[in-house]
Symmetry: D2
Subunit: 393 residues, 4 copies
């Protein structure tokens, strides 16, 4: 019989919904030592709260996160709020002895990220664990990519080409939601999209960024004020009033990894026609890999010395592929949501075994330090070293 893991989810927006449904799935497919229980859903919009909680099957709901993180009947606090509130909630939860899963980016500033990494390290010593929600590590094809690199099948990396391309801001009449407000979101494409790129490059390459040169851009300087809650799509502006966009629409960087690979990377919400194009290419001395999130069941693999060299389109849906044994016969493809189920399973397995889940807050800090260097370089217009202070070696 599995032991229960009582989960409080903080936030009921896009990520709150993705996590809520993810926990439902994790409970239904789970075979591990811990069985998730949807204990409390926490959100500010009281109007939607009860309906959401009932739909996903949460036993209770609340608009008081500070109280929730103190409850004895909560084991894990799952933070799905905008970045500005991550630090306060996560620090509170860790102090209360709760395991923490925090959505990415870990924080809006490098200083906050450092505090969080330090707090997480201290909590771990007490058996309380923290984890960042870089869910794309849990795409099976990405896990295979990492394994191929780790096994040396790719050889020494020469080039990493990565991008996260979306297009939902091309229309200048798209309204000014919280994601376009630096006070809440910290940054734009940088923290929302490039954060995923940086984490994936670190995860798959097994290497760290040493330095970067970059540019940030806001193509549309002001936008109509939004009315009420707004998602990533379909939100309509309500009046003629406009406000300033205070985050970047797009960012791009050159970079260098510690072992010498050249990196080009960029993120944008302005690449018309690319809906969710997180593309990662790695070129090594004996193999190359390519992944595209819009085709997340596939990995392109090139192996030097194969009898017929070419990029193989590998459908990563076999039962012996990572995460796949619990799912379906080959070719019955997974979707974006499965990444959350896998994330929760990995987290629960680590908690059950009293070991640090990955990516840790130290990982979150390492990524944040790269984003910080990207920000600095956009100002100094020169190469900036990644500040590794506080980043675990």
């Amino acid at each position: 019989m599995s032991e229960a893991l009582r989960v409080a989810v903080i936030g009921q927006g896009f990520m709150g919904r993705a996590h809520g449904l993810g926990w439902v799935r994790a409970a239904a497919v789970g075979d591990g030592p811990l069985a998730p229980e949807l204990a409390v859903l926490c959100g500010r919009d009281r109007g939607a709260l009860e309906a959401n909680a009932r739909r996903y099957g949460f036993a209770e709901w609340s608009d008081d996160w500070a109280g929730v993180v103190q409850r004895d009947d909560v084991d894990l606090v799952d933070i799905c709020t905008p970045g500005a509130s991550h630090a306060e909630i996560a620090l509170g939860a860790l102090a209360a002895g709760k395991h923490v899963l925090c959505e990415k980016p870990l924080a809006n500033t490098l200083g906050e990220a450092r505090s969080l990494a330090r707090a997480a390290e201290e909590a771990a010593a007490r058996g309380v664990f923290a984890c960042v929600g870089f869910n794309y590590r849990r795409v099976p094809a990405v896990a295979v990519a990492r394994r191929l690199v780790a096994e040396g099948r790719v050889g020494d990396l020469r080039h990493v080409r990565a991008a996260y391309l979306q297009d939902w801001l091309v229309d200048p009449s798209f309204p000014l939601t919280w994601r376009l407000d630096s006070g809440q979101a910290g940054s734009g494409a940088l923290g929302d999209l490039l954060a995923h790129v940086v984490d994936l490059v670190r995860f798959v390459s097994g290497d760290e960024f040493a330095e970067v040169a970059s540019v940030l851009e806001t193509f549309v300087k002001e936008r109509p004020l939004a009315s009420g809650e707004a998602g990533l799509s379909g939100t309509k502006a309500s009046s003629g009033a406009k406000g300033p966009v205070t985050v970047d629409d797009a960012c791009a960087a050159l970079g260098r990894l510690g072992r010498g690979a050249m990196v080009t990377m960029e993120a944008t919400r302005m690449a018309l026609g690319r809906k969710n194009g997180l593309v990662l290419e790695l070129y090594g001395t004996s193999g190359s890999l390519r992944f595209d999130l819009e085709r997340l069941n596939e990995l392109l693999v090139y192996e030097a010395g194969a009898s017929r060299e070419g990029f193989s389109r590998v459908l990563v849906t076999n039962p012996d592929d990572p995460y796949l044994s619990q799912w379906w016969p080959p070719g019955h493809v997974l979707g974006w949501e499965h990444t959350f189920v896998h994330e929760f399973e990995d987290l629960m397995a680590a908690i059950a075994e009293h070991r640090q889940p990955e990516p840790s807050f130290a990982d979150g800090l390492a990524t944040q330090a790269v984003l910080d260097a990207v920000s600095r370089s956009a100002n100094t217009r020169g190469w900036e070293k990644v500040d590794t202070k506080g980043v675990a070696k």
Copy 2:
């Protein structure tokens, strides 16, 4: 507040699991007039039954389907057993006044399919509805394809090219599971795979098959006897004993639709490298379409007269696409499992509105009549007309 729809799932194999998890999802995302309740899970393997039922959240479990279909606290019987038992269970459930969802193929013989269609028609007159589980109709890209054809965007159909290609029987040491036994499965690739092809052609084209010429083939005539339950992959044979394969490994047919389109179609479990390649191509006088289940979020669309003619890779993941409003921002792709959620939603909507859900048992019969003509043609080695006796016009 939604009214409850109490569901009994019969079967806990591959399809039983897919439906179980599907109902969990449908309950968690649902916003419709009916709220599914997982009432009873019914299966023969008592050892696995309780664990499965608890995992998916069924309130009860039973190994007595005949009793279950009579229970007052069951509204819908969802049949996920091999084809040989479909008729008995479905007829029992309809007689007991339960709505029925029956996995495809509707039956193993045309006669059984006719009985079922007749029973369903009578039940419908009493407000009791039956539906066949051709879940690929619920792929959003397929729904878009149908709409484009219905709107006349494709013009008059000239060619339909369709195939369902899998490869799990290439290895001659793959064991003799129930799917290779005509007594249980009725047929092989024909009823398992070509049934999907036929249903999709009917659904998307809006037309009916008039006649076919075909061939069936069993490449590997005998296989090792299986030990215990066996899935579609990974099952190992246990001893040296072998038994005869009594179903087809592959089938192919030429066909003609009522309004004149030429059809070529085939299904096989022997197409090495194709894992779940259900491919549908339609060529009309003003447009063409292509769909591949391995990339189920995509539809290729060619429109004559577009400013630049070419096959557009349309990512069918926008909120205004069929089924998509409840899911995620554009480009956050769905998986194979979502087809079941959509199927259940459509079914519940129809039941709530007291109208016939689709595909009806009459649709199931129409498809069965095509499969029957394919079977006959493989024997007569000539063209065979589709026998439309009992098929609703």
Copy 3:
């Protein structure tokens, strides 16, 4: 110093032009024992003849093919006329002791094809050789496909899926050119397109067709009369008068190869959006292959047992690939025209070495016998055996 091979090209239409330019290229890149000399261009349209001859560099021109094939200063007669005249010209040329290259299909009837194969066999005994112009055998990727099958890398073939899809007849106002007149063209998609399919299946599989079941269709029964010469595209009809289309727009067939593989194949000029889609798929017990003429530099290769199984997109442009050593660095792609250069090179090498070039007229006959069975089956509406009378074993 290479010896000269003096070439007379008969015909100055689409194929005459392709051959003319091909001989120019072959002369410019050639390094073989024979050096082609463009001796005579022969055509009926005297108005265009001189300009064409001068452009390609032919030394002379004539509208009298019967005289040309008798000339002492001609070594090879290259026949690029419609199928109806192939037999007379080829027989005349062989009788005059000239090597012959004859465009496909070899003839419009099986009887003519038999006569030609017999005449070619007799001529070969005298050191005079004949060859059919199935140029797609000379696509490097196709040559690699054949080699992989011959080396056993694909194992036993289970399925062949092949099609040649074009769309230039979708528009019912496309005029009635010679290609739509059975008197001149013999047949439509059958002899023009399916002939290529049949030859490629034979060439790549190394196997022969045993029997077929088929259908032929003419969707547009009459078309505007054409004015003057008409090509495959862009020709405009000149008046309101119409005439009957006497060839097939499309054909499809099921088939069986001698060693047991199932075949589905079709050819059409009505597949809107497919411009030159000659697609060949082979599925064997240890490997699979896919080729598409619209991407003629690529071959998709699946090998069971590779470290990561998937279809590799192999760019067949390396110097050690067939025909490639004379061309460019990897990735500098070839075009459709190169197939003619390769065809002429292979032919010249065979002539220089006094051996039978391939595909021989016996090959042409073997393909014709399959087309004939397809034709018969479309009438009998049953399976028809391929008549191998006169086909060399």
Copy 4:
């Protein structure tokens, strides 16, 4: 009757051969006011010279370029030598009143490029024209891309993503050919590959680079000395001796165009598996485009507001597409070599009409100025403005 244009080709290496064969083709297909005559082939390797000249059909050959550019019976000097000798030959030819076609990059230094642009401007005033051989402008799909941008179909450009990826230097035992010697080649991937990228971005966008930030890298610092002539592939080193690589293996840059688009671009000979991957992506406010040289007959086009939005794979092979009217029916694909035929045709048309051919030496200089800024930035490690001195507005 066309007037003759007497061509002297200087160089008989990779580019000399491509041009030689290109002129042969241009002569055979040509229908323009000028008819090329292959007058003189000029090269240093006397052993190969006569055979090459005879093969392509040059009337004469010489190892004295200085004499050749003075000959009265030469109208056009086509320079196919390494970059180090471009300036001297081109200046000599222009001074002698010959039209000049010069392979890219125009020169190895910005200073030389300025001199050449000035000389070309002066020559143009005398009716003597100069042109740079950026042949990829002549890919039909690229010409369509430019037209779509020029017509405003793409809207305001937001992002340009471009790369030229090859892999022939991955193997550290590949020898030290002239292309790896800065004395002869000037630079590595920068001048050889990024030059194409920069020219294509300028050509398609219709905009100019304002500034760049960049990095250059030489991964393999020394290589075996080559013996004799060496091509891009297949060359073997002859002894154990090594020498230093004095050019870059790879380069990458961020950039900004004058009207505000962000650019990321890179070029490398170390991207294992990418043979000739010149990829250009443009994202605008109303449309997006993607081109890949390995599939040079295709253009991906995304148009906002199309009935079904998606990237259309447009096969640019229709008779009404740029350059296509002289070739084949739709879908009969062109190869890399056709770019040279188109280049020569455009050049001859301009000369015949006494107007400046494009890209002019001023264009060559503009591209060189961007490459120069890339070089400087790699040293200063900061953003560098493009020096437009001497660049025509």
